[in-house]
Symmetry: C2
Subunit: 350 residues, 2 copies
C-alpha cells in the first residue's frame, strides 16, 4: 500500500459526517446517535482506520500520557537491583491510569552530552531515581518547561518533591539491635560511595551517594569507630568479596551490617567459607527486606523497605502534580525485622 494512511477526516467524509462528530465517536466524550456511530465505525473499518493518530491527539490535548523514568546509573545495573525492580512495579501500577506508560529515558551518563532526551521526549512528567549533582545541573531546561518532576531518594532541588527513606534512622535501629546483643566489634559493608570502586572507607572519605552516606551514619551513630568497606554494587558477589576482607583481618568483627540484603547474603557466604556459623560466630544484618533468591534457610535480620510502595508513592505524586495538586515530600518508614542471622555476641569474643 503506497497510499497514505486514512485520517479521521477521511472517515468522516466517507461516513457523511463532520470530523468533529467522527472524533467524538472514538473518544466517547459526547453522546452520539447510534445510527451515526454505526456509520462512522463502518467507514473506519472500510478505510482501515484504527483510531486517532497518537501524536496528533496528544498535541491537541497537550498531553502524551507518557511518564519518563531517569536512572542515575546504567540501565542494566539498575535493573540488577531487586529493589529498583519492585519500585518499577509500583510505579507502573500507579501511573498506569495516566496513559501510555513509562519511557526509559537514557541518562546522559552513558551517552554523550549530545542526547538531552529528557527535553526532547514527549513526556508529561518524569520520575528521577536518584539524582547526581550532574543530573541536577542538567534539570534546568526541564523545569523551565514546566514538566512536573519527582525524585526518589535523591535531591533534585527544593522545587522537586522527594520520596525518601529514613535510611539513617533505620540503619541505627539495626545497629542498636546488635549493641543490645552485646556486640562491640562491628563492621559495615556499604553500597558504592560514588567515587572510586571497592575499598576500606577512611573517616575523611567523601561519600557522594546519599543512601550510602546516610546508612553509614546510622551505624556510626551507635558504633562511632566501626570499620566500613565499600563495594562496587549491590550484589552477592560484592558482599562476598567485602566479607572475605573483613573476616580475614586481625580483629575479626562479631557482627557485620550490610547496606543491602544482597550484600548481606554475600557476607554470609564469606562466613560459611571461613568456617564461621551465622549467627553463632557472626551476626549479619541486611537492608531492604527483599526475598533473596537462594537464601534459604536463612531469614535475614534486616530493615524492611516497601519498594513497591516507594514506586507507587512516586507515581501518585506524579499523578497529583499533573492534576495540579501540590505534593509534599514523603519519608517512608523502614521498620526493623528480626530474622535468624543475628544473635548474642560469642562468649569467646567477650
Amino acid at each position: 500500500m503506497t497510499t497514505r494512511r486514512a485520517t479521521i477526516a477521511d472517515v468522516a467524509r466517507a461516513a457523511g459526517v463532520s470530523a468533529s462528530t467522527a472524533s467524538v465517536v472514538f473518544s466517547g466524550k459526547t453522546p452520539v446517535s447510534d445510527a451515526t456511530r454505526a456509520r462512522v465505525v463502518a467507514a473506519a473499518t472500510t478505510l482501515g482506520y484504527t483510531g486517532p493518530h497518537p501524536l496528533a491527539a496528544s498535541l491537541r490535548r497537550g498531553r502524551s500520557g507518557i511518564v519518563g523514568v531517569v536512572f542515575t546509573e546504567h540501565l542494566g545495573r539498575a535493573f540488577q537491583d531487586p529493589v529498583k525492580i519492585l519500585m518499577m512495579d509500583g510505579l507502573t501500577a500507579a501511573v498506569g491510569p495516566l496513559g501510555s506508560g513509562l519511557l526509559l529515558v537514557r541518562d546522559t551518563v552513558d551517552t554523550d552530552a549530545a542526547a538531552p532526551t529528557l527535553t526532547t521526549s514527549p513526556i508529561d512528567a518524569a520520575v528521577l531515581v536518584g539524582c547526581t549533582a550532574r543530573q541536577r545541573a542538567a534539570l534546568a531546561p526541564v523545569k523551565a518547561r514546566g514538566v512536573p518532576l519527582v525524585v526518589i531518594e535523591g535531591d533534585a532541588g527544593d522545587d522537586v518533591p522527594r520520596i525518601d527513606l529514613d535510611n539513617r534512622e533505620a540503619q541505627r535501629l539495626a545497629a542498636e539491635h546488635l549493641r543490645a546483643l552485646g556486640h562491640t566489634r562491628v563492621a559495615t559493608v556499604t553500597l558504592p560511595v560514588g567515587g572510586r570502586p571497592r575499598g576500606v572507607l577512611t573517616a575523611d572519605q567523601q561519600i557522594v551517594v546519599d543512601v550510602t552516606r546516610h546508612r553509614l551514619a546510622g551505624v556510626h551513630d551507635v558504633f562511632p569507630g566501626a570499620a566500613a568497606i565499600a563495594t562496587a554494587g549491590s550484589s552477592i558477589d560484592e558482599g562476598l568479596i567485602a566479607g572475605r576482607a573483613l573476616l580475614a583481618g586481625p580483629d575479626r568483627p562479631t557482627a557485620i551490617l550490610a547496606q543491602s540484603d544482597l550484600l548481606a547474603v554475600g557476607v554470609i557466604r564469606a562466613a560459611e567459607e571461613a568456617g564461621l556459623r551465622v549467627p553463632a560466630d557472626l551476626s549479619v544484618t541486611g537492608f531492604d527486606g527483599i526475598a533473596v533468591d537462594g537464601l534459604a534457610p536463612y531469614r535475614l535480620t534486616t530493615l524492611v523497605q516497601d519498594a513497591i510502595g516507594k514506586g507507587r508513592a512516586a507515581g501518585d505524586a506524579v499523578a497529583a502534580l499533573l492534576a495540579g495538586t501540590p505534593v509534599a515530600s514523603v519519608v517512608l518508614p523502614c521498620p526493623f525485622r528480626l530474622g535468624n542471622t543475628t544473635g548474642p555476641v560469642p562468649e569467646i569474643a567477650l
Copy 2:
C-alpha cells in the same frame, strides 16, 4: 507563571526573523548566519524557550523516536530474569541513535482489555519479547497502522521478523555431552510451560511456551524418556524445589539438564543439601551462560546465548525497518561451554 509557554513563533518574532529560520537554528538542518543564530538564541533565552515542543515536532516529522517494548509477562517478573535485562541493554544501545528511548508498554495481560496502549502510544515501532496467542490476535490494528514490529523468541505472524535462538539444537548439544560422559539416567528441569505451575511433565502435556518446548525437545532428541519437571519461573528457588523433587525420587538421575542457569544453581543447591557432590555424584547443566551472582566456585556447564546481542539484533532490525530496509529473521547461535559442573557418570551408577 500563569502565562502560556513561549513557542518558536514567539522567539522568531522577538528575534525579528521568520519561524522557519528560528526552527532551523534549533534543528541545525540548514546553514544560518552567525548573527541570526545569535539573535535567535538570545531571544530564546530571554523568553525561556527551551527548544521545540516534542509532540509538535514529532507530529510534523511523522516520527516520535520512541520504540515500544512489549512483554508477555508482568514487568516485575520479566526483569527478574537476567537474560531479559541484558537483552534490554542491547536493545537500549541499538535503538539509542533512533531517538528518545524505550517505552515500556503495559501488556494487556495485567490490565483489562480496556488498554490497547500499543495503538494509543506514539511509537515508531515495537519490539515484542515473546508473543502469546492472545497477543498475536491483538496485533492486527498495530500492523494495520504500519508500525514496524520485531519479535524476540516468539511467533507474531509471518509478517513479523523474528530474533530467535536455536534452543533445540543447543539443548541437544548439552544432552550429547552428558551421553558422551556415560550418563543414561537423566532428567530435566524446565521453564514454565504456560498452563499450570510446577509439576512433573507427562508426555501428552501441552506446552505452550515455545522456549520450554524446544529445549525439552532437544533433551528428548538424545534421551527420549528423560523425566521432566516444570517450574513456575526461572529462579534459584524454583530450581531448588525441582531439584529436591528429582533427587528424592527412587531412580535418582546422575545428570540434570536445567533450562536456565538460575534453575541449574538451584539444582546444585538441592544436590548439596542432599549430600551429593557436583559433578562427582551429579552432573548439572544450565542454559544462558550468564554470570550468576553467588555461584562461585562453580562454573556451570551451559549453553551460552548472547543476550545483549539478542537485544541488539532486535534494535538493529527495528532501525532497518524504520529505514525501509527489509529485514530477515535471524537465529542466533548458542554454543556449548564446558564448566566444572559435569563429569563422568558415577561408577556406582553403572
